[in-house]
Symmetry: C2
């Protein structure tokens, strides 16, 4: 296995075919592609590859939830789930997810439907109230900053932008992995740097997974800020696409062993396990962090929706129940991801105008097109009725410095629509590349 488990499955090897074409050949190719594009546009399609939304078929897997908990309303300890109370969430739900998120059950709490809300509230409260180990609230720090491995998740970046937290992009290594040296260097050097966004497994959008060594270095590293926090968004912990069920290091235990128990917030949810809009979420962290968070959140709520917790307990039963459900998701998703790979390889393989990721899990394919053409590809696709996520979405402030990254989200449309949409996308990638190469030739 070697380092494979901490990486993505493969990337296409650029062979520079397009850039090797002479001017005349490029012009001929442009005419062909313009014709193909015009015909594609005439079809008047309306297809959407923007967000990592589960498909209706996937949501159907959890339809049992719609009639649960039935006539039961008591938790294992006798709690009436219908009434007020219980900030931690149901113990039996936390027990199911404790091994999956690798957080001891007493350090794991369950919330309402969205882990995004927990992340948002953690940052909000850190802005307004000093964290354990910290001496000031972030609102009183001049230009607080976060490390943001790129490409990354736009909704993480939106939270920073909202609160005026500066985002420092961390470009990946040549292998597409986390640049841990750069993370260590920056975290150690600048007390303004208060945190880091990180999707440790099957990441959004590149599908990479953190290595055990890098997880250990994150836990051990020296930080200039005494209240540095890693937002360890384990959104895809059980979202495998192959037989190779990738595992990651238990970060809560690593941080504790490294003498930095308060360093990490582990986030998770069932948004892509049960119902995207009606699931349950989790926060796992140190006792001190938990006390800080619960103390603040107690002024906001008398407790999460325990009936929904009970509903999920009855449906999922145990950690193995979650894994079994995820096998059904995989069976639905894997052919879609295979279709994307097939079309990308067939149409763009060897052209040298695009590279892309193929992940062991998660929800996305991250594609890099020819520098300076991503926005144009997205514009062309949009005009032809194929919606792609906004250009630059995977970068802080929506600014992709090389204008090359496109996030593909194949989960929602049926395979036939996905096929059509992807054929349109690769056409746009080629057309934009040829236009750019001709433009560069004219300038050169």
């Amino acid at each position: 296995m070697g380092h494979e488990w901490c990486s993505t499955r493969r990337r296409s090897a650029p062979v520079d075919e397009f850039s090797a074409l002479g001017s005349e050949a490029l012009h001929t190719l442009r005419e062909e592609l313009r014709g193909d594009y015009a015909r594609f546009r005439e079809r008047g399609l309306k297809l959407d590859l923007t967000r990592g939304k589960p498909s209706a078929e996937q949501l159907d897997f959890s339809n049992e939830l719609l009639a649960l908990p039935g006539d039961e309303f008591r938790a294992a300890d006798g709690t009436d789930c219908r009434n007020y109370g219980g900030l931690h969430g149901l113990p039996e739900l936390r027990e199911i997810f404790s091994p999956l998120l690798q957080v001891p059950v007493e350090q794991l709490i369950a919330g309402d439907s969205s882990s995004l809300s927990i992340m948002h509230d953690l940052v909000t409260h850190a802005m307004l109230f000093a964290l354990p180990g910290g001496s000031t609230r972030w609102a009183d720090v001049e230009r607080p900053a976060f490390l943001c491995p790129v490409p990354g998740y736009d909704r993480h970046f939106s939270i920073c932008e909202k609160f005026g937290i500066e985002m420092i992009a961390i470009e990946p290594t040549a292998e597409g992995l986390l640049d841990i040296d750069e993370v260590e260097r920056l975290a150690a050097s600048d007390p303004r740097i208060k945190g880091m966004w990180f999707v440790p497994k099957y990441s959004n959008p590149t599908g990479t997974t953190v290595s055990e060594q890098d997880a250990e270095r994150l836990a051990r590293m020296t930080t200039a800020a005494d209240d540095f926090r890693i937002f360890w968004d384990d959104a895809y912990s059980v979202h495998h696409l192959t037989d190779h069920r990738v595992t990651i290091a238990p970060i809560v235990a690593l941080c504790e062993a490294a003498g930095h128990p308060d360093r990490v917030f582990v986030l998770g949810s069932t948004s892509k396990i049960t119902f995207a809009g009606a699931g349950v979420s989790f926060l796992g962290t140190s006792p001190a962090n938990l006390q800080w968070y619960l103390g603040h959140i107690a002024k906001r709520t008398i407790g999460p929706d325990k009936v929904n917790h009970l509903r999920h307990v009855r449906f999922l039963k145990d950690a193995e129940g979650v894994q079994k459900l995820m096998e059904r998701h995989r069976a639905s998703l894997a052919p879609k991801f295979a279709k994307v790979q097939e079309i990308l390889a067939d149409e763009l393989g060897g052209t040298g105008i695009a590279t892309w990721t193929e992940a062991f899990g998660g929800y996305f394919v991250s594609m890099n097109v020819l520098d300076g053409t991503a926005a144009e590809v997205i514009r062309l696709a949009k005009e032809a009725g194929v919606a792609l996520t906004q250009a630059g979405c995977a970068y802080p402030y929506g600014k992709d410095p090389r204008d090359r990254n496109i996030r593909l989200a194949p989960s929602f449309p049926p395979v036939a629509d996905l096929d059509t949409a992807m054929r349109g996308v690769v056409l746009c990638v080629k057309l934009a590349a040829v236009e750019k190469l001709i433009e560069q030739g004219q300038q050169g």
Copy 2:
């Protein structure tokens, strides 16, 4: 009806009997009461009158929800409620509550289970981002302040305390109503005063309801702050205890007519209609306020739990369905409130050591005992196994200046337990009063 609809039903008339007793009679009475108290304490009870929690019987009324929405998951407009999206909440749910909360459906949004969370988030965001009409965020205001009619709701006050917002208590008029003159005077005089907590109907804890005239004056009044907001917590809008279904003025319309459309946030929830811990909540306000709120909240969530919205739509059906359900609650609650009134009248009527409210609706009885004895009553009750809400809970910072107010919450225990608990409470009220009168006699 006259002004009756805007007030509570009646208060006991103090006749000063205890204070008229001579020293010897007081000492005899003390010996009797001490004996009664000792015997009561020996029973080793464990009863709870602390919070306005619905009883298990009340929660049973909504047990249909436990198996809903069944096999349906589509909203009226075809939306798949299981998936992401829809910040406003289901239109059909908002339609049910629009007439009840007197907010046009397009200005009313539905959220997750707690209106407390919406109030908390409104204040949080107002601290960090200027409100429509405001030029600065509240965090940049020196000593921002809120008007707090007392006695009031402790969870409102906790939000102010959390964010360092100064609370200015507004004592009621001699009739126990809102001192609107004082509210107008303060709001007009001090730009630091940014808001006001207000439960307009069957208020917590006194059960009072705002008059149409006072509502109009709140809408019309001049405020020194250009971003003054009334948090109109209509928590008990349909929570009647008598045939007299009290109505209140439509504050959103009044504010609009008065040229202050952004003045009010209307809050509501089904916490005391369906399930206290698993209901739905509402925010009704001006289009500008709504845009401000949704813009900020969009970074926190991809939308509320729409399956729970659908569940409530299927169960409640329409506004009349809500009213019918509330009739069942009334049938369960009214005998409990009657029992409290009966015991208070029998045991404390004519003693001159306590006054209390009798409301047309809501969840509480507010009792004022002899000045300087509320904390002692609560301590005595606790030692005898009857939990009452913490002394001073209905006042900012938990400080009741006259140490006299006790909030009684009769909803949760069965009538027999309530009877026992209340007989203990009145005993403690009497014992504390006699001890105080003897102490005062010795000093005088």
